[in-house]
Symmetry: D2
Subunit: 461 residues, 4 copies
Amino acid sequence: MGFRIDKDSLGEIKIREDAYYGPFTARAIEHYKVTKQTMHEKMIKAFVMIKQAAALANMELNRLDKDKGNAIVSACNEILNGKLLDQFLVDAINSGAGTAFNMNVNEVIANRALELLNRRKGEYDIIHPNDHVNMSQSSNDTFPTALHIAVLMNIDELLPILSELISVLRSKEQEFNDIIKIGKTHLMDALPVTLGSEFGAYAIAIEKATKTIKDCKTLLEHIALGGTAVGTGANSPKGYREKVIKHLSIISGLDLKAEDNMQFGLQSRFAIANTSSSLRNLALELIRIANDLRLLASGPKVGFREINIPAIHAGSSIMPGKVNPSLAECLNMVCFNVIGNDHAVALAVQAGQLELNVMLPVMAKCMLESIDMLKGILRSFIDNMLKGISANREMIEADVKKNPILITLLAPKIGYMKAAEIYKEALKRDSSIKDLVLEKNLLSKEETERLLDIRRLFEDG
Amino acid sequence: MGFRIDKDSLGEIKIREDAYYGPFTARAIEHYKVTKQTMHEKMIKAFVMIKQAAALANMELNRLDKDKGNAIVSACNEILNGKLLDQFLVDAINSGAGTAFNMNVNEVIANRALELLNRRKGEYDIIHPNDHVNMSQSSNDTFPTALHIAVLMNIDELLPILSELISVLRSKEQEFNDIIKIGKTHLMDALPVTLGSEFGAYAIAIEKATKTIKDCKTLLEHIALGGTAVGTGANSPKGYREKVIKHLSIISGLDLKAEDNMQFGLQSRFAIANTSSSLRNLALELIRIANDLRLLASGPKVGFREINIPAIHAGSSIMPGKVNPSLAECLNMVCFNVIGNDHAVALAVQAGQLELNVMLPVMAKCMLESIDMLKGILRSFIDNMLKGISANREMIEADVKKNPILITLLAPKIGYMKAAEIYKEALKRDSSIKDLVLEKNLLSKEETERLLDIRRLFEDG
Amino acid sequence: MGFRIDKDSLGEIKIREDAYYGPFTARAIEHYKVTKQTMHEKMIKAFVMIKQAAALANMELNRLDKDKGNAIVSACNEILNGKLLDQFLVDAINSGAGTAFNMNVNEVIANRALELLNRRKGEYDIIHPNDHVNMSQSSNDTFPTALHIAVLMNIDELLPILSELISVLRSKEQEFNDIIKIGKTHLMDALPVTLGSEFGAYAIAIEKATKTIKDCKTLLEHIALGGTAVGTGANSPKGYREKVIKHLSIISGLDLKAEDNMQFGLQSRFAIANTSSSLRNLALELIRIANDLRLLASGPKVGFREINIPAIHAGSSIMPGKVNPSLAECLNMVCFNVIGNDHAVALAVQAGQLELNVMLPVMAKCMLESIDMLKGILRSFIDNMLKGISANREMIEADVKKNPILITLLAPKIGYMKAAEIYKEALKRDSSIKDLVLEKNLLSKEETERLLDIRRLFEDG
Amino acid sequence: MGFRIDKDSLGEIKIREDAYYGPFTARAIEHYKVTKQTMHEKMIKAFVMIKQAAALANMELNRLDKDKGNAIVSACNEILNGKLLDQFLVDAINSGAGTAFNMNVNEVIANRALELLNRRKGEYDIIHPNDHVNMSQSSNDTFPTALHIAVLMNIDELLPILSELISVLRSKEQEFNDIIKIGKTHLMDALPVTLGSEFGAYAIAIEKATKTIKDCKTLLEHIALGGTAVGTGANSPKGYREKVIKHLSIISGLDLKAEDNMQFGLQSRFAIANTSSSLRNLALELIRIANDLRLLASGPKVGFREINIPAIHAGSSIMPGKVNPSLAECLNMVCFNVIGNDHAVALAVQAGQLELNVMLPVMAKCMLESIDMLKGILRSFIDNMLKGISANREMIEADVKKNPILITLLAPKIGYMKAAEIYKEALKRDSSIKDLVLEKNLLSKEETERLLDIRRLFEDG
């Protein structure tokens, strides 16, 4: 059951006998050798879901013959179950609006549906990629819809990992909650905090970032499907829009709704910019946390040396025994890439013109890559780094005890200027604050000891 | 009543006789000659509100003597009413955490309070900038708090302008609602839309962007005041935090709440990143809209020439009579700057370390500048450009009538491939679609006319 | 000849019987599931070249036994000839400094060299990945060196394509050189230019951008190899550095030199930032050119409609016959991604700390992807879009003839203010400038005709 | 000698009696309330230089009457000497292409020239802003030319500060050259370097960045003056271009040349993008260096505590005696802003369309602000921070002596795996490497001591 078409209106084109795509796709594969990546699997599946939902809606509205429609639906099911995924060979960055990729999908489904009807691939007079598979659709409404769906599906895989990150940070908060350490502002010795409280604050940061990402889902759930070419829904039958979105919600398991204003839905990718920046803002927090952990681990002899990180592999090919915070560094790198991708997405979003923003494929590539990378590194970061962090309790406690910055606790009593003097003298003479204060008769021994008792800082609040 | 202090622990320092700042500030003015801008007025006022609220809370908790406290409160009132604003001379970008600026505020208030007590400026043994004005505070909790307040106040000035932008876009939607035009995808002729619907979609875009900005306010309303140096609230009395935030809410008229986790509140500037990116995302939409208007206005002879823009001044110093879309271009430029500023803010946000993110002054500078610029340009863009846009109705209507892309409306009947043929022939022969379709006997005259009647596209939906 | 090692100091680890990598790599594959891309082939080859050069230098300096050394050299040759490329499975973004990838290379070469000595893979007591393959090296000097080499090799593939782009733009300049058209400033009608001159100016832009990229090669050619772990060259024999770089130059065919200051060579990636921004700056010009072509092609009925672009595939899945500037849009998208990648690289570059910038793998990923994408899209853009552009000569010439902006040519005679009046009247009455000027007796017919003869503008200059 | 004009073609407009600008400027001041900054003084002066050079060239070519021309030249001289600088009130971000600002300049010069001719301001029939001051010019060629000149002048003020930065870094290299310390890779203890060598490597980084900035001057020196509106030089007399550029070179003291292709000179701002990215790349190095210094200074008790930084003011308003690396943090903030500004510039550069890039004012604002900020902060950073850095010699030397990472120096003898074992044991038992190696009889005492003698690492390299 080989291929019938070997040329189209643009002339001859070679298609492999066993291919399911057709001449449009074959040419697009030639024309777009850009990233050498194919479209993200979630985009393929989201697109196929749309084609299936459209076929169902078109059948219900008597636009599409049942035989053809059911064949299309079955072909889509096969792909959603993992078949023919190697047939989507158009480059991840292809034509504006992703027309080339939409046609790749139309052709593969058409050809597989033809087979299911015991026809030969390429008998487009029976099932045509444009007339039947693409019925009531345009690249212009399907690609943004698929993009929203793919991003939603990928975010839904990221969120549980973020939850787990929060919960492991919380467990570290518990574990280290009684370890009082010298706090650091400007990287300089400051008033004490607990090591646990640092991890607790990281947990909050991830919670806030997670909530913001979740909040982006609402805008993404509003899709422009049914707008067809320019948002007016031209060439789609009355009632189509409600039906197709209903089917698509069921197929995807997502809570999809029609974008109120379809023209907005095609011309603006605000929901994508919004989601992209929420990922960037997560990345900013993750960079900060990764940097902090690398600081705290700096050592083992020179540096902050407050925590130990598990060795996942030899840290150096030349310095034996060295343990590096490799996964934290990897997290940094991923976050840099995520921020760069957000930038690319922003450029794409501002480039919409009149009825359409055509810069869709690069949005799909960058957004989905960012989420994939975050999923990948966070999984490993949690399991192989975060969980295994231990504290150098003795070192930390020794550091805090004699630290002259504790003079701050006496400043409300003796005044800022006097306290500053004592601090400098303590540093110079390497004396304890207590000794100096008593030597100078500034406060009674009792009051000095009460004020310098740092545990009271952590008792209730 | 001149100045008493002319040296401090770092040695001699000249202070002008009529200055209200003291030696700390004088030195900081010397050290930070960076932007040659002073701190934003909203930051000055937000800071002074904090000092006032702190004095009230400290008096209530019997930490601060009533005489001194009331003098501080009165000095703050004067500044909030516009006095002494020229005394805040530390550069907009100063020391990490803005300590230099906090001290500038402390000194000006202390010296003015001293005067109100009939003391000489500089008699810090009576009212000390650190011990009394800064009581129960640190730069580390006051600067982020002031930053949140200043941004909130500035956003509250931006929002009504965005509302007006939406409403003027809506009125243009009404005005142009019956003008059917050739839609444009990929900048190429596409199915018709109405000129009004384009403006309607712009309104939606700004609505969504506005909502996102509004949503950022919740995070900003959570402030870290009371956390003092490292988030533990060290050196502030019990109950201080609730009291100071209550006073600050009243003074500022904002709905402020305590950040649940104070350490998070000092170490992370997530709320700022989140607000900054919401401004960026607004900018992305504004760029797109400005670009569209510039496209639509292109002409007057060659180009899209669909709209006319009001002449606000001669467009060219050499080409007489030329009218340029100057305010739309200005809007583009502002948005580029806003996006750049967001980038600077993001870099600052990721640079937090352990207990504190010290990169606060640059956040204040960039965020507040962005909002100011948006307020300024949008005010003028609405009044002097948007409101005055008129449509070239005849030109637009002539353009749409014979446009061969209307073949799309027949494609569901005659098939995509046949339609494509007709389109090319129409272009080549410069014939109307209707003539060609009838010539080729593809459809009846009645059906052809019914399908080509573009008004039906805009009847219900 | 299966694998001997199945555990190392970190415990048991499964390695496939037919694998050439060892336990270190196997673990790293597990730990770094980030991008799901492997390291770029040019990085693999650059790394293998370094290993080969090091073996040669170590043998010459009698550090490395000839038998082992020759086996290592042979193994490297095999890989450089395309064998075993599937053995480099560590993720493109892996550990800081790329230690994991360096070890992947060390292990594959060690194991293949062992085979060549008729030993079993894993007999590391004979040839050890660290002691022999990595001899006199560190990840810290090899990874930046490999990065420079890979980027240099990739740029050398980009440059001829840029040359061709320039030459095709030049041929379009020739082809369209006699087509006088209305110039456009602010997208509004302005004084005439030739269509050819626009393409000529694009050629210049690409020439300047190309020169800047070429200039970056000098910094890249200075490599830190021989610096080992911290730039001091510890653990490498005297004379090693000169020898290894000499060998590496021969093997790579590049003109490599030692970085004067090795510590700089490890701690700073300035050469990478510099190259990355030169790619960004190229992208800025390409975006502008692609946007211009899309503007000029806008139509075919409404818009600038000055040029026709070749149809490479149907432009729309719903609007038959539509031709879109798909490859120009694709070029835009690639450039957005390139700019985003530059941003990621910049973040990585600023993140160096003390003796080392560890953020190397993400630099490799982003830089090499950007160059690859540019190579890919420009190849197709030149062949399938640029070469096929044709001009709508009649339309353009008709547009220019009666355009009232030609009044500018009379302004030096009649004054700016008078000229502005005439312009407005011409637009309003749709009259020609010549008629109006003569009607108003402002200039003689002869002078008017001479001044309005636009051909004179293009005669010599 | 008051103002004559109080309305123009757009109707009535109020101009202050003592103003030198005219109705065009007055309106532009109203329309562009964006940044509330005026145009940078260097832009004002560069523009005035252009007007002066143009008047001289126009007089030489007998286009401009000597009386009028000389009055214009004199007016320009006055402004270049510092007069009337308060008359340039159009906002820093104004109309596309900066037409509004060009007209501001034209009007001020015209009105002052009128006064010099004993005429009343506003007698534009005598000297007209467009016809005489703007003669042979357009905003389109003057603004980019002024931009290049202003940036060149500002860079020429930055370069000596960068030279001084290099030389102070070099003097620190000398000062600390005999202080051997634990090097740091991944922030973890690594092989030793000298503290001096770190500063030496910073010096190299700034040298390379400085050279790149200098290299940008060549492109900037090529100016588009004489291209007038669209690059064809329309309305400028033959020979004008050479003359005006010759005069401008003399007036500005810069080595200016005509851009070969004038259309390129108007449509592309490649030279600006190139310069902007060179500033960004400098900023990336400065961030890294500032971060390193902050790391090295971290302490005084907990952290790296290798260097002491001079106290320029109290570091904390709450923690007495605390010294923060405030100027390094300020440098970080400036660099973040510079990177953001570069981003804004890049967006502006890609937004050129056809014959012109109109996004000029925002380029001027961001570029000049970045250079100003760098000049300001580096001046203070050098004087008040860098010069005053001292080393904690004893601490550093104690740190290095027993650090187990020195095992690396034995690895070539005892093998990587064995060395790794010893390292871990040394850490665990807190023993010295030497003791362990001797205890285990791995090497002779003599060889061990020779290999562990770290001074040999710094003898000749």
